[in-house]
Symmetry: C2
Subunit: 481 residues, 2 copies
């Protein structure tokens, strides 16, 4: 009997986030839901920070309403979301009560599976969210952000998996947002976690397609015992997106593994989104091939374009090479954080500052916070001299505690501020929307009654003043912390 | 010690054939040659039927001159070509002396490795070419066209490999022109051939990327013992093309396999062709994603578009579904030929005829020839009733001998006809050019002195009356037989 490999479909969240700047309107997803629901997926990822943000920033859509619609449209499916641990869907750490309330409301509105991660892999930053998910009776998926550095080892990832299991996680996700996970490490990490934690521990693998090797990594992860992999329907796959769902199904033919996906349903979903895709062409990623340089530079493509535009703004476009050489140095000094949002922006901007003004002559507020522990802890030791500079410039003390431990209860304040906004409907959901995006929510509440804008249908509906989406498609954008 | 996996670079032949309609001018390849030459490839594929055709049909370039230039520009590299067995680079069977003379001249002008195949996998159609290659002291690579049918088995492929070895082949190529080769069969076939023929028999694997699974197939083929795989530099890869060279290098990191490719050279080649690619945008394939339907339909994408346009011409575009259902029937009746040029066009056109006029009411001349054995033998038995119809309509008897056995010596006639053409330079190379493309060569000879046209540089140089390239990018196009 072949082993069934389960699949999480990404089309409703990460796929359009990675390939069309998170702009897909709910209206354009609805017609595909029946086929998605009946195709046999283990789960359907459909909610996260960037989609939430995009809903209120660009689409004039209530993200909670979107979730409730998904719940109705996908009655047979586990709904899955990506949750940034103590940051929830926002860009700062929230006090624990806010975490609890957010998770409760997401569960109440229909969420089944919470993939909880922290950009620094600081386990303390995911603890409260996982606890809340378990309390709500939902599936808590503890997440390991995969990165490469002299300090990141298979053993380290296994230890993190064990800690996540100890927190009560129902499954582990190995999350490779930058397409860095090669076949052999994919095999080794899955194998080692299974050996350490037991065969029955579910392991999910999330990879992007950017570097052209990760379909092979999925195969190797499956051979090592992975239970579920993430893919996106082919018409919205590849490039900075994901490996195609249909290819995964075909890849396994004749092997000791099989999916239970219904190919005729997949074909319908494919054809449907092939029709939708061109409507969003102004948002489409123009990367359709692969990029392998990231393996050597460790600098994701989106981060390079961010740094390029920062340099251009300062009339120093010719200094990109220096900045690219500076990045690994800054990353090392910061204790080898994975380079994903927000750490990629923080490290990248500091590298630009270092080249333009001299090394660590000026620290950004965010970099100082990172050095001082306000984002959490890093695997590597942070450089004591740079910590000292950060301490002096930011006039803050370094901390070693969990960052959220410094926060005072804030729910009541958030609630009263939220309720005071014009158009707020008085629900806890609205308060949470305000709490996540205090700069964007007020305008959204005030225009909500105008109804959703479909930017694919009517590109002119795009608000002229809206900021462009940030560099990293994975975890959203905007101001940090 | 990791095993070194060798690589054949396809950028100079199959990559631009598959992705930009074979239009790349020699001028645009020259600057990349030094880096290609020093990157550490096992071979550089740079010549074949479609590039030869395109040279004289579109680019006003002497294909023999191109070969001699490659020889000078790539002094450290094995030059490799694709040779259609008894068809050489043309669309009919040639008498053995022409085969011998062609191979001799190709060798003399610098060719090292001859990948010899027959579209029907009829070993008799590759015998003479392989003999000629061996006589010229060059590398003869016997080729198995991979296809899927109820009759095609691993055992069958192993037997074909053994026969190719018996003919004196220096290596075996498994050639998957339609991206049908899944990981498990890739593993099984390579493994079984190695077991039957010995570990020391070199096995090369050629796959396209169309279906999104073949990078995994390369990994599995390597695990089974494959010695060399074909890839294309990333900036001209994927879609109907090939897996990216750089991704292959990275994929193997940490495994028991390694390439000896120089990544910094690859990066230069990549960046160079990334700059060239947009200049050919009017020829670029607009398929950048994957297509997996071919696994079920067995009908390559190019073949579907051919049939669609045939139906449109007859005002019957609405009957495509019927035709698609008819194709497997026709293929079965024809003895399950692999669906590649020319068999894909022959089977596809007959399916259109069957739907439009009633099953086998009218046979095309080519389909009749196929049924009567004039292309060679097929793995499956051809349907006796349809053979009978072909016999009646074509007024030809079925044959079972090697088709070329029926041909009379023709070199002297070809030579005198070729030499009589205006602009012919009197060389055997020119005679061979005429022999391969008797309809195109006369015009080419008469305009040759005007020098090459670079369609990327100056799209207006495109001859207005030139026919569009045919459906299948693999083995050329144009009239058949
Ligand atoms: Co992702
Ligand atoms: Co090919």
């Amino acid at each position: 009997m072949p082993k069934t490999i389960e699949v999480t479909e990404l089309i409703l969240r990460d796929a359009h986030q990675s390939l069309m700047a998170t702009r897909m309107a709910m209206e354009d997803m609805v017609p595909a839901c029946e086929d998605i629901d009946k195709a046999g997926y283990w789960s359907v990822e459909c909610w996260g920070g960037a989609t939430f943000d995009s809903c209120i920033r660009f689409l004039n859509e209530d993200p909670w309403d979107r979730l409730r619609k998904f719940r109705k449209l996908l009655p047979n499916s586990r709904l899955q979301m990506l949750l940034r641990g103590q940051n929830l869907l926002g860009y700062r750490h929230y006090e624990d009560e806010v975490v609890d309330r957010f998770v409760d409301k997401a569960a109440e509105n229909g969420m089944d599976v919470f993939r909880v991660f922290d950009a620094l892999n600081d386990i303390r930053n995911v603890r409260q969210a996982i606890k809340a998910v378990k309390k709500a009776g939902k599936h808590a998926q503890g997440t390991i952000c995969y990165t490469v550095s002299p300090l990141h080892t298979v053993t380290g990832y296994v230890e993190m998996a064990e800690q996540l299991v100890d927190l009560g996680c129902d499954s582990i996700c190995i999350k490779d947002m930058a397409a860095l996970l090669k076949p052999q490490p994919a095999y080794d990490i899955v194998k080692a976690i299974k050996e350490a934690c037991g065969e029955e521990l579910r392991i999910h693998v999330h990879v992007h397609a950017t570097t052209g090797v990760t379909m092979v990594s999925l195969m190797k992860a499956i051979e090592a015992g992975a239970d579920c992999v993430d893919t996106a329907i082919s018409s919205l796959s590849l490039g900075p997106g994901h490996n195609p769902t249909e290819s995964l199904v075909e890849m396994l033919e004749g092997t000791p593994y099989v999916t239970k996906l219904d190919k005729s349903r997949l074909l319908k979903v494919k054809e449907y989104f092939a029709g939708i895709r061109p409507r969003y062409k102004e948002y489409l990623s123009n990367i359709t091939g692969v990029e392998t340089e990231i393996f050597d530079s460790q600098i994701p493509g989106g981060m390079i374009s961010n740094m390029e535009s920062q340099l251009k703004q300062q009339g120093a476009a010719d200094r990109l090479k220096e900045v690219l050489c500076e990045v690994p140095r800054v990353r090392k000094d910061a204790g080898y954080p994975p380079l994903v949002t927000p750490s990629s922006q923080i490290v990248g901007t500091q590298a630009v500052f270092n080249v333009m003004m001299g090394r660590y002559k000026v620290l950004t507020g965010e970099f100082a916070d990172l050095m001082l522990g306000y984002y959490g802890t890093t695997l590597g030791q942070r450089d004591p001299e740079v910590i000292n500079l950060a301490h002096k410039q930011a006039r803050k003390n370094p901390i070693t505690c969990r960052p959220a431990d410094l926060l005072k209860p804030e729910w009541d304040q958030l609630r009263s501020s939220g309720l005071a906004l014009k158009g707020c409907n008085g629900s806890d959901e609205d308060v949470l929307t305000y709490a996540m995006f205090p700069q964007v929510a007020p305008k959204f509440f005030s225009t909500r009654q105008e109804g959703p804008k479909n930017l694919g249908k009517d590109p002119s509906a795009k608000p002229a003043a809206a900021p462009a989406p940030g560099g990293n498609a994975e975890t959203g954008k905007g101001p940090v912390m």
